[in-house]
């Protein structure tokens, strides 16, 4: 069996020198002290018995205090003779101090990997961390490896090397397991070592779980690591295990926290919407009754025919009253439709062009008051996307209202819709000529409860981001102070063309006339 660690000749010499020096030092000091004590009490040295007694005590005391003195002396001697090891120790201590305060697992990994790489003069080092969802160990940081290798380095939890780590617990050297294991196991593990570009594996086990491991190569000189270096690494890894386990817990908590934030904002948002819905349905009720009366009376008169209506002008007025009241009622109905989430549309096929047009018509009155012009650059025949109709409406309404708010008075909103064939995505850009956002603000503009307007809750853009996420897309903002902002949304297109046909059929069956509803309920 090959030696686990290669102890260098220099190390042997140093250890020997330390031993000799500390022995002599101790022996000398103790001998002198006892001699002094003997002289103080005026005991004569002439007696040979006394001489033996002194020697006897000297040896006893030396033996008792040897270990302590030896370690103190060796520390100082090492500093002179083995500057390298003392350097490793100090560097590792500095590293320990640093990583204790870091919570981000990637940051810890980068710092550890880079420091180890520099301190030990190794060819490469990687830190693999267990991903619970993928049931795989992924390299989250490495040094000394090509980008090509890093991008595809992962190892399955069923890998024989991982199993071996569980059983062995301590570090594993590539050179030492070969003789212990069966030929098959050895070859499988050897293959894994090859894959990881490693010579040593340090498992980081916390509460019986292999949470991560360090894969370390030989030194740049081609030499293996020696016993001291391996011990240093072993000691350091005890702390690293704790820190990585903490960082993982922290990340889990953070994820939970994000989820809760999302839920909270959705609850708030839905409360806000149900308030709008109540208001809208109240208005609709109040408006529909007078409209019904106006229209109804006009219709009664109109239907009385020639006996009451004696000229075409009168007939025309009555007809206009009927059509215009109908139009007014339609507007309130649209408003209601906008605020009312529909159960069945959890996922439907959505024509973004239609939604953009609906939304623009809904806000057009407000825009005309504020002297805001809207420019549409809309590409025809954009493919459909899949999602909640209500959510997509809310997304664009929020963004357009946001643009109106940013402009205040007088300005232009440009809405661009296009399909990018290569990526199979739909791109919607909503640009305003408003006050713009500073660079540091663009970073947290999508955060919940972040707002620059006193009257806002600060959920609009957060909700937008959540909706875009659910649609599988992305949203970002580009902005310049006093020039305006542009929100860029990319949404993935559904693949199957057949769905287009389904969508068309669905549209035809749209519940507009009561008879179709009646039919539905039978």
């Amino acid at each position: 069996m090959k030696s686990l660690y290669k102890i260098t000749a220099r190390e042997v010499c140093v250890n020997f020198i330390i031993f000799i020096i500390s022995s002599f030092f101790l022996f000398g000091v103790v001998f002198l002290l006892i001699n002094l004590a003997v002289n103080l009490f005026n005991i004569s040295f002439q007696k040979i018995d006394n001489m033996y007694l002194v020697l006897f005590f000297t040896i006893i005391f030396s033996a008792i205090s040897f270990k302590k003195i030896n370690s103190i002396i060796s520390k100082y001697i090492e500093r002179f003779l083995l500057r390298n090891y003392s350097r490793i120790r100090t560097e590792l201590n500095i590293l320990k101090q640093k990583i204790i305060t870091i919570l981000d697992i990637r940051e810890v990994a980068n710092l550890v990997v880079n420091t180890l790489y520099e301190v030990f003069f190794i060819r490469n080092v990687s830190l693999y961390v267990y991903d619970e969802e993928a049931k795989t160990y992924f390299s989250i940081s490495s040094a000394g490896l090509s980008v090509n290798h890093i991008s595809r380095s992962s190892i399955d939890e069923d890998d024989s090397l991982i199993k071996h780590m569980h059983t062995k617990r301590g570090y594993i050297s590539r050179d030492d397991f070969l003789t212990i294991l069966s030929w098959q196991e050895a070859s499988a593990i050897s293959h894994s070592f090859e894959k990881l570009h490693a010579n040593y594996i340090f498992p980081l086990i916390f509460e019986d779980e292999l949470i991560a491991f360090l894969a370390i190569s030989r030194k740049t000189s081609g030499n293996p690591l020696n016993k001291r270096e391996l011990n240093h690494l072993n000691n350091f890894n005890k702390l690293l295990t704790l820190i990585i386990s903490n960082a993982r817990e922290y990340r889990k908590l953070q994820k939970k926290n994000d989820e809760l934030m999302g839920i909270q904002s959705r609850v708030l948002q839905s409360a806000k919407i149900s308030a709008i819905e109540k208001l809208a349905s109240g208005i609709a009720h109040e408006l529909h009754n007078p409209l019904t009366i106006i229209s109804g009376k006009a219709q009664v008169l109109l239907l009385k025919g020639p006996q009451k209506i004696d000229n075409a002008y009168m007939e025309d007025v009555l007809k206009t009253i009927v059509t215009q009241t109908k139009r007014a009622a339609e507007i309130t109905r649209q408003l209601l439709m906008f605020t009312k989430p529909q159960k069945e549309d959890s996922t439907t096929l959505i024509n973004i062009e239609n939604i953009l047009n609906d939304t623009i018509s809904l806000v057009s009155y407000k825009m005309s008051l504020d002297e805001i012009r809207i420019d549409k650059v809309i590409e025809g025949n954009v493919p459909l996307i899949e999602g909640s109709l209500f959510e997509v409406r809310e997304l664009f309404l929020n963004l357009i209202l946001n643009a109106i708010q940013a402009i205040g008075k007088k300005g232009v909103i440009t809405i661009e819709l296009k399909y990018i064939n290569v990526q199979n995505i739909i791109k919607v850009c909503i640009a305003d000529t408003g006050h713009g956002i500073s660079e540091d603000m663009t970073a947290n503009i999508f955060d919940p409860f972040y707002t620059t307007y006193s009257e806002n809750v600060g959920l609009g853009l957060f909700v937008c981001q959540q909706i875009v996420k659910r649609l599988g897309g992305s949203i970002r903002v580009e902005s310049k102070i006093n020039e305006g902002s542009v929100f860029i949304i990319s949404l993935p297109v559904i693949k199957r063309e057949i769905k287009n046909q389904i969508y068309n059929q669905k549209n035809e069956n749209k519940i507009t006339d009561p008879k179709s509803i009646e039919h539905m309920f039978r």
Binding site: T292, I293, R333, P514, E518
Partner: protein, 124 residues
């Protein structure tokens, strides 16, 4: 002559509907709230009820329930301003025969009423 009962808390609505149906040779009774409607259903025994949903006191849904319990032969057309899908489906479950939204198209309404009456005749 067919008898229609119009139930709406807006008097003006009752009024023009009454005028319209009288012009069309119907017998018309009106009620401005749920209690009145239930009382009149017993006395007047109309064939068709035009029933507003949102009313103070007993609302249209409760009136519908009661009317259909007393006499399932009475055809009920629900008249709504804007109602949620839940409300409408509840009305249909309780036996409503159709629903129309305000503002009303009188020609459509009359067609619907005629259809209900001819169905009543068929059922007899």
């Amino acid at each position: 002559m067919s008898k229609i009962m119009i139930v709406d808390d807006e008097l003006e609505i009752c009024e023009f509907l009454k005028e319209f149906f009288i012009d069309r040779q119907y017998d018309v009774v009106t009620a401005s709230n749920g209690d009145e409607a239930l009382a009149k259903v017993d006395n007047e025994s109309p064939q068709i009820l035009l029933l507003d949903v949102k009313m103070p006191g007993i609302d249209g849904i409760q009136v519908l329930k009661e009317v259909k319990r007393k006499n399932p032969n009475i055809k009920v057309i629900i008249v709504t301003a804007v109602e949620t899908d839940d409300k409408i489906s509840e009305a249909f479950q309780l036996g409503a025969d159709n629903y129309i939204t305000k503002p009303l198209s009188l020609e459509d309404l009359e067609r619907d009423v005629q259809e209900k009456i001819s169905r009543l005749v068929e059922e007899r």
